[in-house]
Structure formats: C-alpha cells, structure tokens
Symmetry: C2
Subunit: 255 residues, 2 copies
DNA sequence: TAGTGGTCTAGACCACGAC
DNA sequence: TCGTGGTCTAGACCACTAT
C-alpha cells in the first residue's frame, strides 16, 4: 500500500520541508484542498461535487480518508451529504443559512423572517474601531451600511455594518441590498461567511435609536457586536445591532 | 464477518421488534450503552475507560465501530482522549468546564474566574414558570437559590436558580454551595449537565438589582435565562442571571 | 438497475506516554 | 518496550435516489 500517495504528500513536503514533527494528516490536507476549491469558486454553492470514489482516485488517497475530510466539512456546514444523491456545496442563501446567523426569535410562536429597510450606505476611511476589529495594518476605505429590521411589522433592530471596500467593490451600484446579505456576499463577491463571533451587552436607547425603534429614551436595548469570518478565517464584516427585546430574545445554545 | 455481533443487535431487536425501517447503526447503540455507563455512575468523571480493543471485544463489534462511538462522545464533551494515555470521562469541575458554561468575559483582558456570594436558599411548590420550564405534569417542591457573583471584586451578576428537590435531596444540608455548582451536581447528586439553552434580553434594573449590583434604578441589564440539560436530555436547572455589562460582555460564537 | 452516501470490518503502521 | 489513541487502507454490504 501507499504506492502512489504522491500528490498530497508532495504538497506537504513543500510546505514544511524541515519539520520532523508536525506531520499533518492526509485527510486534513485533503480537507484544505477541497475547501480551497469552494473558496476559489471552482465549486459553487448548491453544486454537486465528485463522489468519494472519484475524489479518492483524483487525490490518490483511499475512500475512507476522503470520507473523513468530507465528514469534517459537513460538520463545518460547508457541505451537505444526501444518501443516494451525492455531496453538495452548502447554499448560503436559503432559509436555513439565514437563521443560522439570525439569532433573534419571538418569545412566543415560531421563528419568523425579518424585513430590512436600508437607511444609508456611505463610505470613508476606517476609524479606530474598524482598524482594530478588522486587524488592519493601515487605514483603508470602508463601506458603512445602516438599516432597520422589523419582525411582523414592528421595528425591532437598528444595524450598522462595516465592510472593506477592497473586498466589496461596487457595492453601491447594487440597487437594493437584500435581506440576507451573506447570500449577496457569496454570489456577487465570492465571499463565504462560515462563522461569526458575537459580543452581547445591554445598553440604553439614545435619541437615534428611540426614533427608529419607536421606544423611549433610555429604554434597555440588546447590543450585539458581530465579527463575521470567511473560509480563510479573515474578518469580512463587523456588524453592530441594537435590538428591542420586549417581545423577542436572542437564542444561544451551549454544548 | 458478523459472526458474533449478537449482544448489541439483540438489544436493538428487543427495543424495536416490529420496525422494518429505522435500523439504528451499531455505533449509535454502542454510544448509547457507553453514555449509559457514565450517566449511571458506573464510570466516574476523570476515570479512564477500557481501551478501544477491550470495548470492541466486550461489545462484540469492531474497533472501528467503537472508535466512531467514542469520537462522537468526544465531540459531545463527554470524553477526553489522549494519545498514548487512554480515554477518560470528562471532569465537570475543572476550569475548562466552568468556562464552557460561563460566557461572561471582561471587555479587556483575559477570562477571569468569578466569585459567588450566596444570598438565600429556600424551597416551595413550583410556580407557573417553573412548571412550564421544567415541563412538569404536576407541581412539585423546588429549591430556589439566589446568589451574587463578582468579577475582580466588582459585583456584576445576580442569579436565581431553580432545582427540583426530588433530584437534589438534602441540598440545604450542604454548608456552602461552591462557585461551580455543576461540579457539585455531578459529584453529590450524579447529575451531569452536558448542554444548555439560553435566552437573552435587555431589561432595566429594579430596586433589588440596583442594590445588589451597586447601579442606578433603570440601568440596562443583560438578562440570561438558561435551561440546563443532563445526559438524558432532561431539564435539571432553570437559571436567570441579571448582569451589569459596563465592563464585561456575553460571548457567543456561531458556526 | 446503477450510482450514491452510510455502516462495518480487519488489519497495517505511526505518534505519543509511561515504564 | 509496551500499550494507547490516531491515521490510513481495502473491501464488503446496506439504504436510498434516480432512471
């Protein structure tokens, strides 16, 4: 055995020529290669990818090793596997993906689809916070999108998004930004958001928030600051949401 | 092959005698059996369990199938596997486990260990909310624990815990409840908390909260309502925490 | 019926830790 | 050196989907 596992091994050898320890498993290398194909757009969302046997032959590793890579990617929400049908790249524009990142749920009743109203889209040099959040070496041009969101006709959220202009060129030419911007990021800019880190605080409503959310000055609001990461673990979006939580809550689960 | 995989198959056959479909994989049955041994106390936290080969021999399945069960349990935080040493039942009293469920972090600086101050431990018949949260068929006697928590000397949280007296008999005989009650649940009552669901809202501080948290009336507070589940997916604790988030935040991650 | 993913087995070799 | 978990292989059979 191990007759012709040259390809992936050679990649490894080039990457870490002098490391004696730190041997990266074959299935991890396979996972990286397959992930790269999604990130590069070679494989598009909803597309069926080659079968286990085909990938095994192409990468010159065994089917079991391919399976381990595919299983991990399925676990990371990058792939969906359907018995009898095939393996597909996750879509980032369906309901499931929206709710994956939209954690606001009504206290009573089931999950509901939020509406969005764009307030402003501006751009300018990154401020101190943006430099910090995005880990920028030098200040650069940023988009800033403000929008309101409502659930069942009632305004509940005020959002401010920051994006790097360099990663989203021509964003202002798009007539109307959709409700689910992550679908837009994927389809128009090839940016795939796969995970996010959020920081939650309770704050008081100021004048702007009170006006947009139709609440009183000083009312308690849930402030959610989110950093969204792409396939390469780069920050692609910083989003601050201010949310009225009279009839809704933020749902989190701990495993 | 498949010469003597009698034991686990017979268990399955007894459970679902007439179901033609719904065949449960062997590794799932193995996982259930191994989980049962932890839940029943047969295997205690920090204890090393038999090796893959021994389990495979005992359960009369292959090593690979045992491995798949163990891998899933490792993923569920039930087991810790150490190459060269063995497989161990997770401890629920170390720092890692505390921080797994303690999501409050300072805005600046690293994670810090909170202190707890017990305010009151009372008991009484379950109220409407408790009946609902615990899914009780009939009202029953409940413990109610109130305590304050502080980070670096500063009071930041006020907590109220509800527990079923039937699952925690003699809780009031314990001189001082520890900071990490989940360790206590495990060691003294054989109750292992493995996951939790939390609902977050922003609320205004009332008189009681203002006094305990040393803040003003009406100040915004983060309200965290948590249901904690055990190995059998039963609700074992309902906890409401009110938290001052001036210098700390609640950290969540979305994958 | 053909092709896919899902399960299960059996055995090889490697990396690591304890002795 | 031995026993452990980690990786990798090769191949069998099952369950499901499409045709």
């Amino acid at each position: 055995m191990a007759r012709r596992q040259q390809t992936l091994r050679q990649i490894e050898d080039r990457k870490k020529p002098s490391s004696i320890l730190g041997h990266e498993p074959l299935y991890k290398r396979a996972k990286r290669e397959l992930t790269r194909r999604i990130a590069s757009g070679e494989w598009r969302p909803n597309q069926m990818i080659p079968s286990e046997m085909e990938l095994a032959a192409e990468l010159e590793i065994s089917q079991g090793t391919v399976r381990k890579a595919l299983d991990e990617m399925t676990n990371d929400n990058l792939l969906v596997r359907l018995q009898g049908r095939g393996t597909f790249v996750s879509s980032f524009d369906d309901e499931k993906m929206l709710f994956q990142f939209f954690r606001i749920v009504p206290d009573e009743g089931s999950k509901t689809f939020p509406d969005s109203t764009q307030i402003a889209l501006t751009h300018g040099l990154s401020d101190k916070d943006e430099v910090c959040k995005f880990g920028l070496k030098n200040p650069e041009e940023m988009w800033r999108l403000e929008r309101g969101r409502s659930l069942v006709e009632a305004p509940i959220m005020l959002e401010r998004l920051s994006l790097r202009v360099s990663r989203f060129p021509g964003l202002d030419e798009i007539a109307e930004l959709p409700n689910n911007v992550y679908g837009l990021y994927a389809e128009r800019f090839g940016v795939t958001v796969v995970r996010a880190a959020e920081q939650l605080k309770a704050v008081s409503a100021g004048k702007t928030e009170a006006r947009h959310l139709n609440c009183k000055l000083g009312d308690p609001l849930l402030r959610v600051s989110r950093l969204a990461y792409d396939l390469d673990d780069q920050v692609v979006e910083w989003r601050v949401s201010l949310c009225l939580t009279n009839t809704v809550h933020y749902a989190a689960s701990i495993r």
